[in-house]
């Protein structure tokens, strides 16, 4: 459904010296510098999948999304969304896609939310049955009626965001691009938005590309992940596969014994497991973190069972955030695999 082939985007940036002199200088000379925001991104997202497109700030995510939505033309390479090159056939592509840009509103600022939907219905020429079905769903899940007749400019961010997500889906697009769709929402509404996206995907086969810093969104919505760093795709696969690239794992346990003196336990663990670290966390549990390359879970568990009278034990999934942080900060990079995800 979405194909990117060696997408490259360069920006021309005006050079300017610091301070007043630098500003004055721009009156006389205009020197440009090329900045490569996206350097050869390739991926393929099959129809009906939900993929998270994630990366640190400045990694080239939003530039890529702008090329896929037809707002920007790539410097080189090619993109196809539902069989169209978005930047060549912007208007036809616009009929196929829905977009939520976290900070920009697609609603009519001076009008109440229901009016924006009526306008979108006209612009997209949405058939009555589709419109009614969708509005009923949004009313049900997002409680859109609660927004009443307040003009959009007077809504809170959370109130507006619900309407934005619904507005991006109202014309049954084949692909929906969601950029920070739950920003400003409380937990209940976050859940509702995630459920809406998942339901639309399940019922209509809508392809979802999500860019978000909210790990909860990614885990609740997406089945595939594309990680971009410095303009390149550095990981593509399922969320689970990404988590498996974690180079440290952790085990938390509680044991019978003197809870007032955990230092001995910690010393013992750190002496036996080279490279591991143990800390006392809330509730008196001991958290053991160990490098996956050095120790297997079996070895770690074996050691704990041998030396402690374990009463409780948890091995949490590796934390997506720390996996990403390691990728962003340039730790070990998983080999790029430019193939289908999901």
């Amino acid at each position: 459904m979405i194909v990117a082939e060696n997408l490259v985007k360069d920006f021309r940036v005006h050079e300017r010296g610091p301070g007043l002199l630098g500003s004055l200088g721009t009156l006389f000379s205009r020197e440009h510098r090329l900045v490569r925001a996206v350097s050869g991104v390739s991926f393929e997202i099959p129809a009906g999948t939900k993929v998270a497109y994630i990366g640190a700030n400045g990694a080239g995510k939003s530039t890529t999304v702008k090329m896929l939505t037809g707002i920007m033309t790539p410097t080189s390479g090619r993109a196809l969304v539902a069989g169209l090159e978005p930047y060549r056939e912007r208007r036809r592509n616009a009929a196929n896609i829905g977009v939520v840009f976290g900070q920009r509103s697609q609603l009519w600022w001076d009008l109440p939310v229901p009016d924006s939907f009526r306008i979108l219905r006209g612009i997209h020429d949405i058939p009555d049955a589709v419109y009614r079905r969708n509005m009923a769903l949004y009313r049900d899940l997002l409680d859109l009626d609660a927004l009443g007749n307040t003009p959009v400019r007077q809504l809170s961010l959370g109130q507006r965001m619900r309407a934005e997500v619904a507005a991006s889906l109202v014309h049954d697009p084949k692909v929906v691009f969601l950029d920070e769709p739950t920003v400003g929402l409380d937990l209940v509404l976050k859940e509702a938005v995630r459920e809406l996206v998942n339901r639309v995907n399940a019922e209509l086969g809508t392809t979802v590309l999500l860019t978000s810093h909210d790990m909860g969104d990614i885990r609740a919505i997406c089945d595939g992940v594309l990680v971009v760093d410095r303009g390149e795709v550095v990981h593509s696969g399922s969320v689970h596969e990404l988590l498996r690239t974690a180079d440290t794992r952790a085990v938390l346990f509680e044991h019978e014994g003197d809870p007032a003196a955990p230092t001995e336990a910690i010393a013992l663990i750190e002496a036996r497991l080279d490279g591991a670290s143990a800390t006392v966390v809330d509730g008196g549990r001991i958290r053991v973190e160990y490098p996956t390359g050095r120790w297997t879970s079996r070895q770690v568990m074996g050691l704990l069972l041998e030396h402690f009278d374990v009463t409780d034990c948890v091995a949490p999934e590796p934390d997506l955030e720390s996996v990403l942080r390691r990728i962003y900060t340039g730790g070990r990079r998983p080999a790029p695999r430019p193939e289908a995800v999901g």
Binding site: N96, D110, G122
Partner: protein, 275 residues
Amino acid sequence: MTRAGTVPARLRRYAPFTAASLQGLLQYRATFLINALTAATAVGVQVFLWRAVYAGRSGGMPGGYDLPHLTTYVLLAQVLGLMQANRVDEEVSGEVQRGDIAVSLLRPVSYPLARFAAGLPVSLTNATLVAVPVVVLYALLLPLSVPSPQGALLFGCSAALSLVIGFGVNLLVGLAGFVTTNIWGVRIVKDSVVAFFAGQVVPLALMPGPLAAVAQALPFQGMVDGPLRLLLGRYHGPLEAASILGVQLAWAAALSALAALAWRGAVRRVEVLGG
């Protein structure tokens, strides 16, 4: 979802922009009052200035206008000015500056046409809610010349074309927002240059020869001077009347084509502003 469809079906997609714009306008009712006061004052200042000129003249009529004619001209020039204040320049450059143009690019419609559809109600509400009371007010206060039915009809056609010219000019100015970030100065210059060369301040017939020639060669004369010449019957024979309309039509087409071209160029520049 498809692009197919007859022309009316495709045009129907622009109706919501008109409706939305009208609805938005009606939320700011005070604007109409302010516009009415501004227009009424501007007409008043000019009319009384001209009355002083006529009172002190030693014979002959400036440019062949008698006082009721000139009063009508000045009054309706303001009306046309109000109708061409369609805010398209302001809205487009604003969208470009804020970056909201990105969202507009995500709609499956032609942006210039959508802007035209959204600009129409601004012109029309100004014409009805602002201009009509001002005209009625001055009609009660001062002697005006009553146009012939034929003049009124020609004026109607001409005023419609003047709307398209005014839209083209404003869209081009708005698109300048892609080139220069601060469009405010450009708009101020545009407002006074257009008002002057359109004949909103002084009828072109009263301008010195070379200046009038320059004004005639520019598209702006079709915004005020052309329609009012037709209304007041200041032409010789149907051929000249037709040529006034023809020139307007040509400018309307040329400016629309130019705006479409500028828009294409502008879309390619969106990236500079980071969308």
